[in-house]
Homo-oligomer: 193 residues x 2
DNA sequence: GAAAAAAAATAAAGTAGTTTAAGGATTTAG
DNA sequence: CTAAATCCTTAAACTACTTTATTTTTTTTC
């Protein structure tokens, strides 16, 4: 297992000595998630926060009419969970599944609490991550309220460069909150100008 | 000054002895905000988190086209700030102003950090508050993506019972993300059936 | 590598919400 | 208490997006 990538991710925000690094790694559980397999389903408690080493996951809800709304794509070097369920250990509202065969490192809630006690600076690390999640969500809310679908599509491409080549248009539409048919029209219109 | 209301709010999540209560109160700064006056403007750093003792505040953004989008109303017993700006001490994206003459208790960032050191269980209190803010925001994002304006209006009335009597329809429309004209139509339609 | 399944494109008709405009009602400020 | 400002209602025309249906293309599966 190659832990360089996840260690670099952590060391963007905090510094670790050799012993701390080893302890952190000892708490991680590597896992392979095959395409279309679930890491979490709504109603279950989210026991893990997941770092994506390779591949692509999404988290999403399903509304009353059965429509899928994707709240986040997580590719290499992203973290993903149902944060609310994980923090409060109550049933999740989100599903998490794999759009490609994916390798993750999982940190359980129990291990995360041990980690906070042994190496308190990880509180800082995860606090920053959770703040960033909050901000990203706030921006997305504003975007959804005030921008057109075409604007949101442009912003999607900025936020996730090259991801569009890896996933279907249907997934992009479910992220943007529009029908695949309408996204198809937007793309045709943009191609012309 | 009557601190019973804010103390009850805190004691929903943590218990305080007499000394802790006094210390907490000593860090609060009472302030009166007249109708239409600002507590925060976008671009400023949010130095305070505000507990509404009486009255009504709103926080909102203004988009590229000049439209106001209200993200929260805070009436009696609610907390309000630009959480991101407050936590990171970077410029705010939100405005906060008063829809009625309002009395708040303000806690500065500096005082909050003192409070965490002297009475660590307040970390728990504010962590719960911030988690709840995150969840509420997530629910609102989902609502905005998947529900019609009429559904969102019904949910607004559940979330803020009786608030509609205190604020203008224009404010409600800015919260729902629709024009006041369309809200007028929704109300007429609902009144018929 | 063929059959089946899923995804994408196109188009026509429909709907939720906006825009603009005008008149009437209510609130606010001096 | 009055003038001015703001807010609310109504309605018609418009726009962004959905729905439904059909055909073509791509992907998956065995």
């Amino acid at each position: 297992m190659n832990y360089d990538q996840i260690l670099q991710n952590v060391e963007k925000h905090i510094s670790l000595d050799a012993g701390e690094t080893d302890y952190f790694i000892s708490l991680l559980e590597p896992k392979v998630v095959k395409r279309k397999k679930f890491l979490l389903q709504a109603g279950e408690v989210c026991h893990f926060t997941n770092y994506v080493h390779k591949g692509c996951l999404r988290n999403y809800t399903i509304d009353d009419r059965g429509f899928v709304h994707i709240s986040l794509f997580a590719i290499e070097d992203w973290w993903i969970s149902d944060l609310h369920s994980f923090l409060t250990q109550t049933p999740a509202t989100l599903y998490i599944d794999a759009l490609e065969d994916t390798e993750v490192f999982q940190m359980s809630k129990a291990n995360m609490e041990k980690l906070y006690i042994i190496i308190p600076k990880f509180e800082r690390f995860f606090r920053i991550m959770h703040q960033n999640a909050f901000i990203a969500q706030q921006q997305r809310l504003m975007q959804n309220i005030s921008d057109t679908a075409e604007d949101r599509y442009r912003q999607f491409k900025e936020k996730y460069p090259r991801l569009e080549l890896r996933i279907s248009q249907k997934q992009v539409a479910a992220y943007l909150g529009i029908t695949p048919e309408f996204l198809s029209m937007i793309k045709r219109k943009m191609a012309k100008s």
